[in-house]
């Protein structure tokens, strides 16, 4: 009788231990999933950048100067390139394109100027961030030289003309006839100082 009870206790205990062990195993696996997905959330940031670089999604353009390597100029097509500027909240600058739009042929190099003036009494460092619309045109819009590659410090009341040299790739999709290039100017003084 006692012996039987002991045996039963033993087997219940082993069963219990086995159950506990499998619970622990499942919990560990699930915790791993939780941490992996937390990491994945952050991994989406570089993944998104890479994805945008490849596809030109969201009108992101390259941050490095493009080499001019067009083999010819396609005089059959004319593309309208429009320029927009806006200043982000809190930067007291005048910032505008000196020409609102230009007509270019794919493969043709073009230089345009932008004007900026610091209207405040303090030295401010500005940074222009470009964006191209429609998004699918972004990877065909090549900036050979751009003021947006560097930040732009301006003393109080100082002004500057800033250059942009670009060309449009020959293999720009057929359905794109107008490209809008928009610059937003941000105040990055505090970031540069620190």
């Amino acid at each position: 009788m006692t012996n039987g009870a002991d045996k039963k206790t033993l087997s219940t205990q082993t069963q219990q231990q086995a159950a506990d062990a499998s619970v622990k195993k499942t919990v560990k696996k699930l915790m791993l999933m939780v941490f992996a997905m937390f990491g994945f959330g952050f991994a989406m940031v570089p993944l998104y950048d890479v994805f945008c670089d490849i596809t030109g999604l969201n009108g992101k353009t390259s941050n490095v100067a493009a080499r001019y390597n067009a083999t010819s100029i396609d005089r059959e097509r004319t593309i309208t390139v429009q320029f927009l500027t806006r200043t982000a909240k809190g930067i007291p600058w005048q910032f505008e394109p000196m020409i609102n739009e230009v007509k270019v042929h794919p493969g043709e190099r073009k230089v345009v100027k932008f004007y900026a003036k610091n209207q405040s009494a303090n030295a401010i460092v500005g940074q222009a961030v470009p964006s191209v619309s429609p998004g699918q045109a972004a990877i065909y819009f090549q900036k050979i030289e751009c003021f947006c590659f560097n930040n732009q410090p301006l003393n109080a009341s100082e002004d500057v003309e800033m250059g942009l040299q670009f060309y449009v790739d020959l293999d720009l999709p057929e359905d794109v006839s107008t490209i809008t290039l928009s610059y937003t100017l941000y105040d990055i003084t505090s970031a540069v100082d620190s």
Partner: protein, 534 residues
């Protein structure tokens, strides 16, 4: 005899967490409890309190929109109301209500004595009130509560935040931790605690839907935690995840948020599918039609939920291929969902149907949820979405799936299991009043919103053009009627706890499942020795 005693003793030694037979009294019982039924009840009560809190905010919104022009609240406070109403209803009302049902019913349905991790269970409940205390405390700040919408799009929540972002972020962190712990508990319980003989394909569909939902939670709540963390560091620590000036991208916020947000939508509806898949067979007195197709449909919906997120962002300017991909994937979801709706209809077909209140709510669920599904299908079409985006049509759509969908299923479940929980039958007349008042008022509340949206009324704006005045008046009347109807439910539940007609172990003759094999009210401890399933 001796062997039994020793046996029990050893079981208790091995894991004595959940098995104290001496109940503590008063507040301590609720603070320290590891009993799944106690915790389930607390979850359900908490979610009902939050439901009323969020409901009052909805009524402030509807009061302001009763007439065109600004009458009652300032636009900023109106924005705070829409934001916190959304947060509370999603994270405070619907999700905890489902967790409460899971806590109460899952162990009984799989023949387990308790949840697998009872102490964790206690903790995952008790951090919730603190999360919502933090969130609601922002109303007493000078700057006010979050006003950037429950979707907290950057830069509204970063650059243009009114100072409540930190409170919001920490509240969401705690809610997320609570959900993740709850989900882990559900998965572990289902995987390890099923009674011998209960194979996966023998589990009730209710258990299946919670199983899949828990996996969704484990997959996406950490992503939400990551998103709010990025918002926090962008706002206060100078990072620029979503700030174009520093190389970030505000549109990326939407991608990351909706990668969480879309599965979240199914987190709030899959358990509803489980509930009505339990009640409809019970009151049709037939087996659920197409059990295995229901399981596969649930799993497919869960999978598809991960590849449709950008349908919330059609107007952000995606390449054509992206728009088409997300449009087709979204429409694909209608297939498994359709399978479910047809299966419910087929279950009722030629059944011996009786219309007890749980069944009324379930039938209303099937019809009204399907309306919400169809308006979702309309929104899935990219070209027309450009017209519907950010209008009251969207508001109508997601309230049909979340109120007449998720909430109605919770009511169906509550009425179905209330006799098991309290040991008494609820007052049938009151329950019918609750149902019919809710049904009429909820449609008065949400149906005209479709027309308002199609006519161009934008959401989240405290004022509107004069031509929308008539519909808005009706909508507001429906809103107040629906809100007041819920008080009937509160009275009914309190009465049912206090007494009434004694409930039998199985008060519904068509009901199936292990939970009906234990007496009503369910004893504090059930299935200490697992039942045998054949």
């Amino acid at each position: 005899m001796t062997s039994n005693v020793i046996n029990e003793q050893s079981t208790q030694d091995a894991h004595d967490d959940g098995h104290h037979d001496h109940k503590m009294t008063g507040l301590k019982r609720w603070l320290y409890t590891t009993n799944h039924k106690d915790i389930g009840s607390m979850y359900l009560w908490f979610s009902f309190i939050m439901f009323l809190t969020g409901g009052v905010m909805a009524l402030v919104i509807r009061a302001e929109l009763f007439q065109p022009g600004l009458q009652i609240v300032e636009p900023d406070f109106f924005n705070q109301m829409t934001t916190v109403h959304g947060l509370i209803m999603v994270f405070g009302a619907i999700m905890p209500a489902f967790t409460g049902l899971a806590n109460w019913m899952l162990p009984m349905m799989v023949g387990a004595p308790d949840m697998a991790l009872p102490r964790l269970n206690n903790w995952s409940f008790w951090i919730l009130p603190f999360a919502f205390a933090i969130l609601l405390s922002t109303f007493f700040l000078e700057s006010g509560a979050p006003n950037f919408g429950w979707t907290f799009y950057a830069p509204l929540s970063t650059t243009y935040s009114n100072g409540s972002t930190a409170f919001f972020v920490f509240a969401v962190h705690i809610m997320g931790i609570s959900s993740i712990m709850g989900a882990i508990n559900i998965v572990v319980t289902i995987m390890n605690m099923r009674a011998p003989g209960m194979t996966y394909m023998k589990m009730p569909l209710f258990v299946w839907t919670f199983f899949i939902t828990a996996y969704l939670l484990i997959a996406v709540m950490p992503v939400l935690a990551g998103t709010v963390t990025m918002v926090l560091t962008d706002t206060y620590f100078g990072t620029s995840f979503f700030d174009a000036a520093g190389g970030g991208d505000p549109v990326m916020f939407q991608h990351i948020f909706w990668f969480f947000g879309h599965p979240e939508v199914y987190i709030m509806i899959l358990p509803a599918f489980g509930i009505v898949s339990t009640t409809i067979p019970a009151f049709s007195r037939k087996k659920l039609f197409g059990y295995s197709s229901m399981v596969y449909a649930t799993a497919s919906i869960a999978f598809l939920s991960f590849i449709v997120w950008a349908h919330h962002m059609f107007t952000t300017g995606m390449p054509l291929f992206g728009e088409l991909f997300f449009m087709y994937c979204t429409m694909l979801i209608a297939v498994p969902t359709g399978v479910k709706v047809f299966n419910w209809a087929a279950t009722m077909w030629r059944g011996a149907i009786s219309f007890e209140t749980p069944m009324l709510f379930s039938i209303a669920f099937v019809i009204l949820f399907t309306i919400g599904g169809f308006s979702g299908l309309m929104l899935a079409m990219t070209p027309v979405d450009f017209q519907y985006h950010d209008t009251y049509f969207v508001v109508a759509h997601f309230h049909y799936v979340l109120v007449t969908g998720a909430l109605f299923s919770i009511f169906a479940g509550a009425y179905y299991w209330l006799p098991k929980w309290t040991g008494y039958m609820y007052n049938d007349t009151l329950s019918k009043w609750h149902f019919w008042c809710s049904l009429v008022s909820v449609n008065l509340l949400f149906f005209p919103m479709h027309f308002l949206g199609l006519a161009g009324m934008p959401r989240r704006i405290p004022d509107y053009a004069l031509q929308f005045a008539d519909f808005n008046k009706w909508v507001s009347i429906g809103g107040f009627a629906f809100g007041l109807s819920q008080l009937i439910f509160l009275v009914l539940v309190i009465k049912c706890i206090k007494g009434g007609k004694k409930a039998e172990a199985k008060p519904w003759d068509g009901a199936e499942g292990l939970e009906w094999t234990v007496p009503s009210p369910a004893p504090y401890h059930t299935f200490e020795t697992p039942p045998k399933i054949d």
